[in-house]
Symmetry: C2
Subunit: 160 residues, 2 copies
């Protein structure tokens, strides 16, 4: 069990691509997205399956429980989760002491790119990369669970 504290930004430009240290392909499906818990099965590089339960969100924090499960069981759970599935490639991009994850969505959400950074505390200062655009940490439409239920790319929020 851990607490997930993360901030999430739209991505402006390709500046991050030069700094990518690794890339994984991810297919992930949602078995539950109710008020109590999000239950997600994620298949990484078609080789590893991770079952994740997340508790209710409080601000940008939530309890998180992760369990690796046998790959065949992961694939069966992904089938049960359909059609609520998201496909993306995750790019790891270090930037001034923090490890950013730049998710390039595919399939029903092609065209969407989101950068996430995991923090140790909600008020931790971040050196913002120039390619990090508008913050969408608390815009539920950009939650992967929401995306899984809705094809297409959300209209960016109006700034202000």
């Amino acid at each position: 069990m851990g607490v997930e504290i993360e901030r999430k930004f739209l991505v402006a430009g390709d500046g991050w691509r030069a700094c990518v240290t690794s890339v994984w392909s991810m297919r992930q499906g949602y078995l539950s997205t109710n008020a109590k818990a999000t239950v997600r099965i994620r298949i990484v590089d078609d080789a590893k399956a991770i079952l994740t339960l997340k508790g209710p969100t409080s601000g940008i924090s939530r309890a998180e429980f992760e369990y690796e499960v046998p790959i065949e069981e992961g694939r069966a759970l992904l089938e049960i989760a359909r059609p609520d599935v998201v496909e993306k490639s995750r790019h790891i991009v270090p930037y001034r002491g923090l490890e950013w994850e730049v998710d390039v969505f595919d399939g029903a959400h092609a065209g969407l790119i989101i950068a996430e950074v995991e923090l140790s505390s909600p008020d931790q200062a971040i050196d913002m990369p120039e390619w990090a655009g508008q913050e969408v940490s608390q815009d539920d439409r950009y939650a992967n669970a929401s995306l899984s239920r809705q094809p297409g790319v959300p209209q960016p929020p109006t700034s202000g």
Copy 2:
């Protein structure tokens, strides 16, 4: 992953008590009970935690995935599941080659006793014990997930 095939009966009388080979206390909570999947955390004898996902029901069969998780994480998941919790003691009762589970409910469902038997195929013949009463295999009110959302003991179905 396995397939759970089980039949479920109300219990008439105390005839089963003489044949109990073991007893476990169980507290179990439901994180999701939607159409796709039931997600349950079960704490056995306050010592062992098992996370179970069950796929959609087809007749008396459904896919089942079970993972033991660290006990502290199990307790935290049980808190997230509240108030949808069931407490019971499970009695293992062998009867003519099959292992029956007689669940004596406690807490909000005190007074309810249900006997379950797991089968290898839906049409497997069963030697019925004299203490097995009305069958409730497909009466959703007796599903533990349903009970967790509804205190009290369901009115037995009218026979016929």
